[in-house]
């Protein structure tokens, strides 16, 4: 089968800062934190940790109570995000199609952890003899993907990927390959996670990788790239992307957010929890090669950066190794500073955020990142490695933010290649060998002589760019009145030879 181009035509997200993709992205641009102090109810021993909680998510309202009642929370988050993506792509209103080759690729690290915990409480703590009949089908790792296939009538591949923090990135990569090869004209891809169970949190605490915090400091407990970073912040969430054969998307007049251009993966084959620079760099190079791009084509990295002592440093070292002289010109941010770390769903949330960053031209900041310049010393890197990021101090003081420093990367340059890495190699309890995935995304090709418009203001933009589905196709990113206009440089690699 010949290689096809792969378009992103739908986005959906439920995150600690919003219950939709536009709301979440806007909150990120405004520098809001979704982190709060979590004190699990019915805890046998008092417990309070910073966590990214989707507090505004109402599963019954989003899915209908009967349907929500059959799902673990990780499925509820995933199906809600996928419903949004499906509607956003304009596919919800196109019944009667032959969807026998359409598929779903989903990622989750811990699946129905809350259901498992509830079951163990019942049989061990409460001493009950029987369990709820749906325990198995709620807890299983493939539950969410199955719900999605049923919901949207997807008769092709229905697979779940569980590779720790790279789960959703892996799922997106595999979905990308299926569309590119022609095996599937449409794939729903993403991931979801709901790990905030008492026992799960205790297990992560035992691994000594969780960031500490109290009620006052919880909102800023995640400190990716900062010298004083002290660990990751567990979070829940879900995100979905509709990947579609480019020609098909154009034919039906779909809005195309971006092109998925390449995917790479690697295994460190070294240690369960200690990441390897060389392994990560291999995945970055593999994705570049797959996309037929060079480091100079990249402008933005949505970093994995979880805020652990070792992981962030290794990631910067890996980017330096793989991207060389391009790194100082790159914009790098970690949205985990706002969202926390949704484990297996991280790659999906960050891919959706990266697509929106490319589509709108607005880059989400790293909260508190003025301190991140200290990373150079913390990692032993030369400070030049971060020179490309122009930090802007802001005095936005929000009651929920103990450290109200918000830093915004510069506007992206006109080449507009966007790179999102999702790396599963930070010190996390990956019980599998360390696997790294990279996704590179590039925008639709504008017509000859057209202009890409970028804005890096923090004003609301999404009302125009992420409106309801079935919008007539636009030739390129939508125009924002306040945006700057940059003539797009013609890129030789835009004219890729056929595979």
């Amino acid at each position: 089968m010949s290689a096809r181009r792969v378009a992103v035509t739908g986005l959906g997200m439920v995150s600690p800062v919003g219950t939709s993709a536009p709301a979440s992205f806007q909150a990120l641009l405004e520098g809001r934190s979704g982190l709060q102090l979590l004190e699990p109810a019915e805890a046998p021993h008092p417990l309070a940790v910073p966590a990214g909680v989707c507090a505004d998510f109402d599963a019954g309202a989003a899915l209908g109570k009967p349907r929500a009642a059959t799902m673990d929370r990780y499925s509820q988050l995933g199906v809600a995000a996928a419903l949004e993506a499906w509607r956003d792509a304009g596919l919800a209103e196109a019944p009667g199609e032959d969807r026998s080759q359409w598929g779903v690729a989903w990622g989750t690290g811990m699946g129905g952890a809350l259901t498992f915990e509830r079951g163990y409480r019942e049989v061990y703590a409460a001493g009950r003899e029987r369990l709820a009949p749906l325990t198995v089908v709620q807890a299983m790792n493939n539950a969410c993907a199955s719900h999605l296939a049923i919901q949207f009538g997807l008769g092709g591949s229905c697979a779940t990927y569980s590779v720790a923090c790279a789960s959703a990135a892996m799922a997106i990569g595999e979905a990308f390959r299926r569309v590119r090869s022609g095996a599937a004209p449409v794939m729903l891809a993403g991931g979801s996670e709901a790990p905030l169970a008492y026992g799960v949190i205790r297990a992560w605490l035992a691994l000594q990788v969780l960031a500490p915090g109290d009620a006052a400091s919880a909102a800023s407990a995640g400190k990716p790239f900062q010298r004083q970073r002290a660990g990751l912040v567990l979070a829940e969430g879900g995100a979905a992307l509709v990947l579609e054969d480019w020609a098909r998307a154009e034919q039906r007049g779909a809005r195309i957010y971006a092109e998925l251009a390449g995917f790479g993966e690697s295994s460190d084959h070294a240690n369960l929890v200690r990441p390897s620079r060389d392994g990560q760099a291999r995945a970055v190079r593999a994705a570049l090669a797959d996309a037929r791009l060079a480091p100079a084509d990249l402008d933005y990295v949505n970093a994995h950066a979880t805020g652990t002592r070792e992981g962030d440093a290794v990631e910067i070292a890996a980017l330096r190794a793989a991207l060389g002289e391009r790194l100082p010109q790159l914009h790098v941010s970690s949205t985990k500073s706002s969202l926390g770390h949704p484990l297996g769903a991280a790659g999906a949330l960050e891919a959706a955020i990266t697509v929106l960053a490319l589509h709108t031209g607005d880059l989400p900041p790293t909260l508190g990142a003025a301190e991140a310049l200290g990373l150079a010393q913390a990692t032993g890197c030369r400070s030049a490695s971060l020179k490309g990021v122009s930090w802007i101090r802001s005095s936005w003081s929000r009651a929920t933010m103990a450290a109200p420093l918000v830093c915004l990367p510069r506007a992206p340059s006109a080449s507009a290649w966007v790179w999102s890495t999702s790396m599963a190699s930070s010190p996390v309890p990956s019980t599998v060998s360390v696997i790294i995935n990279s996704i590179s995304v590039k925008p639709p090709r504008p017509r000859r002589g057209s202009r890409l418009r970028f804005s890096w203001s923090t004003r609301p933009l999404l009302d125009s760019s992420c409106g309801p589905a079935r919008r007539p196709a636009a030739p390129g990113p939508r125009r924002n009145p306040a945006s700057r206009s940059i003539r797009r440089r013609r890129h030789p690699r835009l004219r890729r030879p056929p595979r």
Partner: protein, 83 residues
């Protein structure tokens, strides 16, 4: 609160269906209540009200049948007993 009222409130909380005002002929499937949902629901009713619905109880298909089942369960009878 009576057992029947508890059962009705439970259905409303879990399924968003007000059995008192619902059309008795409305099929549960059209409200998104499938066999798995009913299975879970019956288990929870049993746990919550301390009753036994009975393993051989035919699953209710309509709002009316669900309401009848709740009345029988609330009266302390299994569906099979009451049938």
């Amino acid at each position: 609160m009576s057992q029947a009222a508890l059962a009705y409130r439970f259905i409303e909380e879990r399924l968003g269906i007000d059995l008192k005002s619902a059309d008795a002929a409305t099929e549960l499937a059209t409200l998104g209540v499938d066999s798995l949902t009913l299975l879970e629901l019956m288990f929870e009713i049993e746990e919550k009200l301390g009753v036994n619905v009975g393993e051989n109880t035919p699953p209710p298909r309509t709002c009316g049948e669900l309401a009848q089942l709740m009345e029988r369960v609330a009266a302390g009878k299994t569906a099979v007993d009451g049938a």
